[in-house]
């Protein structure tokens, strides 16, 4: 039964902190970095006000933040942190260790361009650098999704067959510092939804001692990587069940992807994050002009929802993929994967790659319209990378 919910005017960062308060994690270790700082700042306030039981560890760097959270999670604690950009890059080494040690850590990531040159604004280069680390990666379109996805992430992470860490991405400043209406569930509903963690392999369980992080050479390392592949598959399988359970109490529906006006759409845009909101606006406008355009929003980026992408993109006339990051010397990350997914579809659409919004460059409705118009004109070139909002 859908529960009655309060409406709050809060930012994406506050939505993340609010969700963390309701989870009431055992341990939070964090280091401030723009634009993530307001999450931990707000959470520290909750700790100071006695609203959570969390042991808060103000560490000296993000490398230490992730290390502390890894140690806490290995001890069986619910442990969280949050970061952005260079902070995430500094965590990089331990990000892999969290995933390969199979620790169910949930981390809100506020996406910001990686240096250099130094820039504090939004793009997805930080999270894309962790693409192959073994973390589940979810992308929110707005503050509401940030709030909702954090609970879904926790439940997914802690599942016995998954046991993987999850990043919940939100666009820096655009979501993290923009105030929106967010519907929040009552504390006791969240408590029921997230439940108690089934503690597995706790370092504190002295009756069943375990060793974390032993040397793992050519005789077993490969098998452990294969297990991580399986865990990702399990995350993929389990995701719909968890989102359905969440929908039952919240009334809000989540899936791997969100199709928007796709039924009869001939031209489809694909994107991650907050830009999807702008694309919906442009789709609505162009629909009024009788143009058959639509959107496929990607919510789950790892594991990559290939089947759903094939299902929704097979047989379209044109597909425009928007990337907010680059892979220098190769195709942009989302584009490369969408293109590769389409290798197997029966009727291949024309496809085009558009990079936009690096270092927080604005993406305007006009730019989105321009990319759609390229598609409508049949002017998409699969092997060409184009740019929106870049000065020549």
């Amino acid at each position: 039964m859908v529960v009655e919910q309060k409406k709050l005017a809060i930012t994406g960062a506050e939505a993340a902190a609010y969700a963390m308060r309701q989870i009431n994690p055992d341990v939070v270790a964090a280091y401030p970095i723009t634009p993530q700082t307001p999450i931990v700042e707000k959470f520290a306030q909750y700790v100071a006000d006695g609203l959570v039981d969390t042991e808060m560890i103000p560490v000296e760097s993000e490398h230490s933040a992730m290390s502390a959270v890894v140690g806490a999670a290995a001890a069986g604690a619910r442990a969280m942190t949050a970061t952005s950009a260079n902070g995430l890059a500094l965590m990089h080494e331990i990000v892999y260790i969290a995933a390969s040690s199979r620790l169910p850590i949930v981390m809100p990531v506020v996406n910001r361009a990686l240096s250099g040159p130094i820039n504090i604004h939004c793009d997805h280069s930080d999270t894309m650098a962790e693409r192959d680390s073994g973390w589940v990666q979810l992308f929110a379109e707005n503050s509401q999704e940030v709030y909702d996805l954090i609970f879904i992430a926790l439940k997914l992470a802690e599942n016995e067959d998954v046991r993987l860490p999850v990043m919940v991405n939100q666009d820096g400043f655009i979501i993290s510092h923009g105030t929106e209406i967010v519907e929040v569930l009552p504390d006791e509903e969240i408590k029921k939804f997230v439940g108690e963690q089934k503690i597995m392999y706790s370092l504190l369980d002295t009756k069943n001692p375990v060793t974390y992080g032993p040397l793992d050479l050519y005789d077993y390392y490969f098998e452990h990587k294969r297990q991580q592949v399986e865990a990702m598959e399990n995350a993929r399988k389990l995701f719909p069940e968890i989102t359905k359970e969440y929908e039952a109490i919240s009334g809000r529906k989540y899936s791997y992807v969100e199709p928007y006006k796709l039924d009869d759409a001939e031209y489809v845009m694909v994107a991650l994050g907050s830009t999807n909101g702008t694309i919906k606006y442009v789709v609505d406008k162009m629909r009024q002009e009788g143009k058959k355009v639509g959107l496929l929003k990607i919510t789950m980026y790892r594991p990559f929802p290939k089947e759903e992408i094939q299902y929704y993109l097979n047989g379209r006339k044109g597909v425009v993929v928007l990337d907010r990051s680059l892979s220098f010397g190769a195709e942009a990350p989302l584009y490369a994967e969408i293109k590769s997914s389409l290798y197997e579809v029966a009727v291949k659409p024309q496809i085009g790659s558009y990079v936009y919004g690096l270092g927080g460059r604005d993406i305007t409705p006009d730019m989105i319209r321009k990319a759609f118009e390229d598609a409508l004109k049949g002017n998409l070139v699969a092997d060409e990378q184009r740019y929106l909002g870049l000065r020549e």
Binding site: S100, Y201, V210, Y212, Y220, H224, R226, Q227
Partner: protein
Amino acid sequence: MAELKGWKDIPIGGLITEPGSSKKFKTGSWRVMRPVYDRSKCIDCMMCWLICPDMAIIQEDGVMKGINYDYCKGCGNCANICPKNALEMKPETDFQD
């Protein structure tokens, strides 16, 4: 060496769930140089026992009893520290028939 298991049959995350399992790992297979013990020179000072990284020196009540070649990896630390040259490193190939 214990038989190697497939990915479905081992604990996740590279975790070791069996305490003391390193006993099953016979580091002796790494050895290219073998310490050979000469009882007649030994004074039972136990320096070799202290320094051996693999607990491969066998001792009983403070008496040196030789080397456990299942675990001795041939690092040579014992021979190096022995004050009486009672341990001599010899190539493994000398012992193959």
